[in-house]
């Protein structure tokens, strides 16, 4: 009895002795602890475990044994890794500028359209809501040879020889990239529109009174003030293209990443190593490499595009 009373006195004492600011801090951390704990257990812990796994030869069925940097040596000696590395960067280097360019142009003009503005915006946003798997299957059929491929039927109608698209080592990657770019447009357009709306109208009015041309307004006012939006979208879409997976996997499910690995990105190689060959250690090493690539690219981009 006396113990309980004593304890109540001390806790009550502690709580009454803390200032309002400290109390707020305790509450804030109390609430933050839940998602923090979740992140540590669900996200960060497995991430660190991946680093450990990458120096073992774990295969799910065989217990893990320490093998040092064996997995990394094998990875850098594997020609498939270098091809996949190249592919991943082609997705990035083609995908990011093309998608940003198109979405900016669309957003720039859509911003001026009043007629059916919301409807058009919704139309652009629609593909973003569609499941990547469903979309990839539809495009897969678009790209088929005659008599069922829509694109080749049109080409044949104009007397142009039919194109192999997904059955070509040179055309397959752009063919896979096209639906991926298209699917991401809606999101980027919305963000660009929000960025454009955030620029104060008074700047434009002042510029027009001073007689600046539309081109000059775009260069001197719109683009510089859009920089934060642009930085966000460049980083966001770069990471998206570096991690491209479902589009590639679903457009060619029978030979994922094919033909002859010409469309295989790093993430797909990791997936196949882990879940069809069960070489978990080797897959973890690939994951670590992907992690480092993402880290470096994000840091470089943030630095390059940071405001001075």
């Amino acid at each position: 009895m006396s113990v309980v009373a004593h304890r109540e006195a001390t806790t009550g004492g502690f709580w009454s002795r803390t200032s309002l600011g400290q109390k707020q801090l305790i509450w804030a951390w109390g609430f933050l602890a839940v998602p923090l704990l979740f992140y540590v257990v669900i996200r960060f812990w497995p991430t660190f475990q991946a680093f450990y796994l990458s120096v073992t030869d774990w295969t799910i069925t065989k217990p893990a044994e320490f093998v040092g940097l064996e997995n990394y040596k094998r990875l850098f000696a594997d020609p498939l890794f270098w091809q996949v590395f190249r592919n991943t960067f082609v997705y990035l280097i083609l995908g990011t500028p093309i998608s940003l360019m198109i979405s900016f142009i669309v957003a720039y003009y859509l911003d001026r359209v009043r007629f059916m503005h919301t409807f058009i915006r919704a139309l652009y946003f629609l593909p973003f809501l569609t499941t990547a798997a469903a979309m990839a299957w539809v495009w897969r059929w678009f790209y088929q040879p005659v008599p069922i491929g829509v694109i080749n039927d049109v080409l044949a109608g104009f007397g142009i020889p039919q194109q192999p698209f997904l059955r070509s080592t040179t055309q397959a990657l752009p063919a896979v990239l096209a639906p991926a770019v298209w699917a991401g447009l809606g999101f980027q357009i919305i963000i660009f529109l929000a960025g454009l709306r955030a620029i104060p109208v008074t700047y434009y009015e002042a510029a027009r009174i001073d007689g600046l041309s539309e081109g000059a307004i775009l260069r001197k006012i719109t683009l510089p003030l859009l920089k934060p939006t642009l930085v966000f979208l460049v980083v966001f879409s770069s990471i998206g293209f570096l991690r491209i997976f479902d589009q590639v996997y679903n457009i060619n499910t029978n030979d994922p990443g094919g033909p002859l690995n010409s469309t295989k990105p790093l993430v797909l190689m990791i997936y196949q190593t882990a879940f069809s060959s069960y070489e978990m250690g080797y897959a973890a090493a690939q994951t670590v490499v992907l992690f480092l690539i993402l880290l470096v690219i994000s840091l470089v981009q943030l630095r390059l595009m940071r405001d001075r």
Partner: protein
């Protein structure tokens, strides 16, 4: 007073439940989701429980894509099935992971297995021990579109018997548009389907070679026979132009749509082709070579007992495994799923052999081979890439074959470690 009654009845109920629970052994059975397979297994479980009222079998299923990972993860965690279905090609993996146990020789004598089952069941044997038994087996055959044959002036009741006749029939049934594009193929080319099995275990042997030696751990197809087999296959597109890889996306889709006169596929396709309404199709044995040599590729899913089953569960699991590999179970499986019985006596009945559809598949079983894959998907990919290098990359078949042999040997060597 009423409250006491309530307590008493609840206690009685609990006691009865506990008693019946103690009497019935519950074992778990896992397989992947495939409508007809699940249905057939439900029937087998019902029959088994009727005969063994003291055993309850619980069936759990999930998608094929995650199947191996989930089985491995759960057994290693001490949970999961007592009896598990696995592809024969995963056996090494499952044994290495201590997931399945050898069948006790007293319950399943090896001599009986070898006398009663088709020889391909030896793929489940390691040393003197069998690690599982199949209910049903699958083999390949040539499907042909009777309407396409008739339209091309061929006899729909006389399908090609040799490789030469196959090419001749394919040439007659191929249709092209003005610019030479194929609009209806004579023969499907689809390495991602069953063609890699056809090439590996059938064509190579028919051209005088062997795909592997030393229990399929050494690649031996990088020779004259392998080259002839590869050239025969790629010539279907390059020289004879009777088919095109990627036409209609998949070979089976082209055949289903009536846009391919012939395709090679397995027993597992019967259910899907059975729903074709627009034309009549037939099945015939895989074509022989000029000397009359035939071969086939057979595969199966086996049922095995896991290391998790101990004591009375192990005894129950053995009883259940014995039942699902009995002739009765095999006949039910054939009726519901369409796969062939794994026991000779159940399969080779006069009625089955004369059957227009099952007959050709059953004949194939007699001379079929079974590849002991180490990593089926990776080895299949090697074959896909080998053909793509020739068809898309215009590489010489000889160079492409050598690369494939090297890549596949690397996969086999890695698995040995």
């Amino acid at each position: 007073m009423r409250f006491r009654h309530l307590i008493a009845s609840v206690a009685l109920g609990v006691a009865t439940l506990a008693a019946s629970g103690a009497r019935a052994v519950e074992i778990e059975y896992w397989q992947y989701v495939f409508d007809t397979r699940v249905k057939a297994m439900n029937q087998l479980i019902a029959k088994f429980q009727e005969a063994n009222p003291d055993i309850k079998v619980k069936q759990t299923t999930f998608p094929y894509a995650d199947y191996q990972t989930k089985v491995a993860a759960s057994i290693l965690a001490g949970q999961g099935p007592d009896v598990v279905q696995l592809f024969y090609g995963w056996t090494d993996n499952f044994i290495a992971g201590k997931m399945i146990r050898p069948l006790r020789a007293e319950a399943f004598p090896a001599a009986d297995i070898e006398r009663d089952f088709f020889p391909i069941v030896s793929a489940m044997k390691r040393g003197n021990d069998y690690y599982g038994l199949p209910t049903a087996v699958r083999s390949l055959a040539l499907f042909y579109n009777k309407k396409a044959f008739k339209d091309a002036g061929l006899d729909p009741n006389n399908p090609p018997k040799t490789l030469e006749e196959l090419i001749a029939a394919a040439e007659k049934t191929t249709k092209r548009d003005g610019s030479g594009n194929i609009t209806s193929a004579g023969m499907t080319l689809d390495m991602t389907g069953q063609d890699h099995q056809w090439w590996r275990e059938v064509l190579i042997r028919q051209f005088g070679g062997t795909p592997y030696t030393e229990n399929d751990t050494k690649v031996t197809y990088n020779d004259e026979a392998g080259l002839k087999a590869l050239t025969f296959y790629t010539d279907l597109q390059k020289k004879h132009k009777v088919g095109q890889a990627g036409f209609m996306d998949e070979g089976q889709a082209a055949f289903r749509a009536g846009l391919a006169a012939m395709t090679i596929d397995g027993t597992f396709r019967l259910g899907s082709f059975g729903t074709i309404k627009s034309f009549e199709w037939g099945v015939t044995e895989l074509p022989a070579n000029a000397q009359g040599v035939r071969s086939n590729y057979a595969s199966y899913f086996a049922n095995a007992i896991t290391t998790k089953a101990e004591g009375e569960k192990l005894a129950a699991a053995e009883k259940f495994l014995a039942y699902v590999s009995s002739p009765e179970a095999m006949n039910i499986w054939m009726e519901v799923v369409g796969e062939l019985p794994a026991r000779r006596t159940a399969a080779l009945t006069p009625e089955n052999i004369a059957h227009p559809i099952y007959g050709p598949f059953l004949k194939g079983l007699e001379y079929a081979h079974t590849t002991l894959f180490k990593d089926e998907l990776a080895q299949r990919q090697v074959a896909i890439d080998m053909v793509n290098r020739v068809l898309i990359g215009n590489e010489e078949p000889k160079a492409s074959l050598a690369k494939a042999a090297e890549a596949e040997q690397a996969i086999l060597d890695r698995a040995k470690r």
